[in-house]
């Protein structure tokens, strides 16, 4: 491996890398914020909105239980959404830069 051949600053400044960086940053922060907010709604709801959590909707199944179960669904969905976009889009964008890495000066 000949590391000296790669000009990291030039790649960083390359529009393709900048595009990847911008897309990824925006996407990751959005997902992170959604998942953190959704997660903390659970302890907050359980502590301050007990009357809502106690409402029975399906036999003895109440909103609290459904909300806790939905935490799992949301976590899996976020993971799935990220993986899909990363596999399809980010990996391809990165690959293009990798292929060209030695030529970006």
């Amino acid at each position: 491996m000949m590391r000296h051949e790669i000009n990291w600053a030039a790649i960083d400044a390359d529009p393709r890398f900048q595009a990847l960086h911008a897309k990824k940053t925006h996407f990751l922060w959005s997902l992170m914020i959604i998942s953190v907010v959704y997660y903390f709604l659970l302890p907050i709801g359980a502590a301050y909105f007990q009357d809502l959590f106690k409402v029975k909707v399906w036999g003895p199944v109440n909103i609290g239980i459904l909300f806790a179960l939905s935490e799992f669904i949301v976590a899996w969905t976020i993971a799935g959404v990220y993986a899909k976009r990363a596999n399809r889009e980010f990996d391809a964008m990165a690959q293009e830069i990798i292929n060209d890495a030695h030529n970006i000066k």
Binding site: L42, E71, A75, N87, A94
Partner: protein
């Protein structure tokens, strides 16, 4: 090769020690069925030893020892992460919490899964792209190598030690409760087995032991849930209707609610089991714990290390997805395991074996197999006990490997040798460090017998979240982050988390213990009826966190309570119970009807059980009084907790981030600035990432 002979001999020694001392005590498994437990234990040990033998033949270089030659696939790594993460605390502990407290136990499990979102989105791929074997490698990429490797190693060793101690002590107690093997023997057996895996088989053996364990755990859980849920036609409302209608569940809720339960119907009591607030009382404490979980998991060195075992960042991504599916699926199953144990076994029987509820899942296994008297029931119990044993060994192996790599790779090779160590020297250093850490773990495990270590798991997460995560996160994503920032931030974050726990309610406060013991021994005076008290908020947010001068602490609403009669002391109670038994036995003599005699026998057995429990409580109170006689202050010289939360995250995590940021802004570090472009390009693209070793 000599190494393998030693490995085999170690395994044989463990088996021999375990089987000779096995019958020393009593556990959940009856003596006549213990051979089955040992057969299952033996099978698991044999399989893992074969794995170690196979892995040892392929483990020669440092990359093979620390990272399994980066040859683990994404799916395999996903299972291994699940095996590494689902410790006995989550496998038995959460099922236990659900069986005793219903909804709150289930809610508690959610954070453990959500934690992996952070791992997936911000940690796994970048670390795989720029790291080599350890947390120290990631930090040293752009920061001063020696300084960052030193602080990373210290933090890794601290976190691993806390987690390891909790695992060793918890494991020793667990094995003792399940099959009655002496505590010190259990700890030593766990330690020697784990050492054999790590020292000879390195990461490859550890990975496969974790995979085997995860597969066993998931299989056992699915089977149990099938048995528990099938009678209700796999209907969620059907199953939960059975839970809320169960008298055992209703009486458990009544017990938890105390006076508040007096005006509730049985239906209301049952439904209350599915509502929040029976276990987790302080929402700020929960948010604090949630922060530690969600950010701490991503800073756990043994989890981080797993991402260096796969060939590419894409495989790292895939492994987190698999891990999330397995871990999340498992926690959904625990809802059924816990509730199933609550209706089939009953909280009284669960608590009789272990106050924390850890025996809920094993007892449920015994029940679905046909109960304590049946062969199948005991085979199931044996299987679950063996899975629990495999769990402890697998988690401990991962932790020891992480601590040993920090010691050998970061401190010895990186700092002492300045990265100039021969390949052979590196492997020797790794193996020697593993032995040192492993022996230390056994020593600490035995020395900490009887200590309350449950809070150490939460503390390990809090330290990882306050120290490792801010440093890694800001190194990866913030251009201005530098060596001074991470060194100061990691130090302050870790020290704050530990210091807050030292002055928190987790510690033992002799005054409270003594007064509780006195209540048991001397009884309580009668209490007049009380009017309802509305909930009170603390006088300020700081007062929610600290016992400051002039603070009014918050308190929840209290329902009106009727007059309570005086409670007798233990001695008085025992005398009364003794009289009761004598009276009942005298009455039995006069009985002729066999049904009545049987009923009388049952009643007598109940009172006798009560006597045993009272005697136990009395003995404990007496020993507590003796132990803390004349003491008024905790280890830290406090009479009562100064920090009011059990989890320090809410303060220590923001502080860790803040110190990294402020120090980085205040100082200049040329290397950290110069390496930013390379780090940022490499973590996003994977150019020059450490590749797989060819075989």
């Amino acid at each position: 090769m000599n190494l393998k002979l030693i490995g085999g001999a170690a395994a044989a020694a463990v088996l021999a020690a375990v089987s000779t001392l096995a019958f020393a005590g009593t556990g959940a498994v009856a003596d006549e069925f213990k051979w089955m437990t040992f057969a299952v234990f033996g099978a698991i040990i044999a399989v893992t030893m074969y794995i170690t033998y196979w892995a040892a033949r392929q483990t020669h270089s440092a990359s093979e020892f620390y990272a399994a030659g980066r040859s683990v696939t994404g799916v395999q790594n996903g299972w291994a992460i699940a095996g590494d993460y689902l410790s006995a605390a989550s496998f038995l502990g959460i099922a236990g919490l659900i069986s005793l407290y219903g909804y709150d136990g289930f809610m508690y499990s959610v954070g453990w899964l959500v934690a992996y979102i952070t791992v997936l989105l911000v940690i796994a791929e970048p670390c795989r792209n720029i790291g080599k074997y350890t947390l120290g490698d990631v930090l040293a990429f752009r920061n001063q190598p020696k300084a960052s490797k030193t602080i990373a190693a210290l933090s890794t060793i601290t976190v691993s030690t806390f987690y390891l101690t909790a695992q060793m002590v918890g494991g020793g107690v667990l094995i003792k409760t399940l099959i009655g093997i002496d505590y010190a023997v259990s700890v030593t057996a766990v330690g020697i087995l784990m050492l054999a895996y790590v020292v000879f088989g390195g990461m490859k053996a550890t990975t496969w032991v974790q995979i085997v364990k995860a597969v066993l755990l998931v299989t056992a859980s699915i089977l149990l849930v099938m048995f528990v849920w099938a009678p209700y036609g796999f209907s969620l409302p059907g199953f939960l209707t059975a839970v809320t209608g169960d008298p055992k569940v209703q009486s458990q809720v009544a017990k938890l609610l105390g006076d508040a339960a007096l005006n509730m119907t049985p239906e209301e009591l049952g439904q209350r089991f599915l509502e929040p607030g029976l276990f987790l009382k302080n929402p700020i404490d929960q948010i604090s714990l949630g922060m530690a979980l969600v950010l701490g998991t991503a800073g756990m060195p043994h989890i981080l290390m797993r991402f260096f075992t796969v060939p590419t960042a894409q495989d790292a991504r895939k492994s987190v997805i698999w891990a999330m599916a397995i871990i999340g699926g498992f926690y959904v199953l625990t809802l059924f395991l816990g509730m199933g144990a609550a209706i089939n076994v009953g909280s009284a029987n669960i608590v009789a074996l272990d106050k924390g509820g850890n025996m809920a899942a094993p007892l449920l296994a015994q029940f679905v197999g046909g109960g304590p008297e049946s062969m199948l029931g005991n085979l199931f119990l044996a299987f679950v006990a063996a899975v629990a044993f495999a769990t402890i060994v697998a988690v401990v192996a991962g932790l020891v490997l992480a601590a040993a790599s920090a010691m050998a790779h970061d401190l010895y090779v990186g700092v002492v040798k300045g990265d100039h160590a021969s390949p052979q020297e590196q492997v020797i250093a790794a193996r020697v460090s593993s032995v040192v850490v492993g022996l230390l773990a056994i020593y600490v495990g035995i020395a900490a017998e009887g200590q309350n270590v449950a809070h150490l798991v939460a503390l390990a997460f809090a330290v990882a979240a306050s120290s490792n995560l801010p440093a890694v996160f800001l190194t990866l994503y913030w251009k201005k982050c530098n060596t001074y920032g991470i060194v100061a931030g990691m130090f302050v974050g870790a020290v704050t988390a530990i210091a807050l726990v030292m002055i928190s309610p987790n510690m033992t406060y002799p005054k409270a213990v003594i007064s509780a013991a006195k209540k048991v021994l001397e009884g309580e005076p009668a209490q007049p009826a009380k009017e309802a008290v509305p909930a009170k908020a603390a006088s300020s947010f700081m007062c929610e966190l600290f016992a400051l001068e002039g603070c009014v602490a918050s308190s929840p609403a209290k329902a009106a309570s009727p007059e309570k009669p005086a409670k007798p002391g233990a001695a008085e109670k025992l005398a009364k119970l003794g009289e009761k038994v004598a009276g009942m036995e005298a009455a039995k003599v006069a009985m002729t009807d066999p049904a009545a005699v049987k009923k009388a026998d049952e009643d007598i057995a109940k009172v006798k059980k009560d006597i045993t429990a009272t005697e136990k409580a009395k003995a404990k109170a007496e020993s507590d009084l003796k132990k803390f006689e004349g003491q008024t202050a905790s280890m830290m010289g406090l009479e009562k907790p100064f920090f009011l939360l059990k989890n320090p995250g809410i303060i220590s995590i923001p502080l860790g981030f803040l110190v990294v940021i402020l120090l980085s802004l205040a100082t200049r570090d040329k290397r950290s600035e110069e390496m930013w472009d390379e780090l940022y390009v490499r973590q996003n693209t994977g150019i020059h990432a450490e590749g797989a070793t060819a075989h």
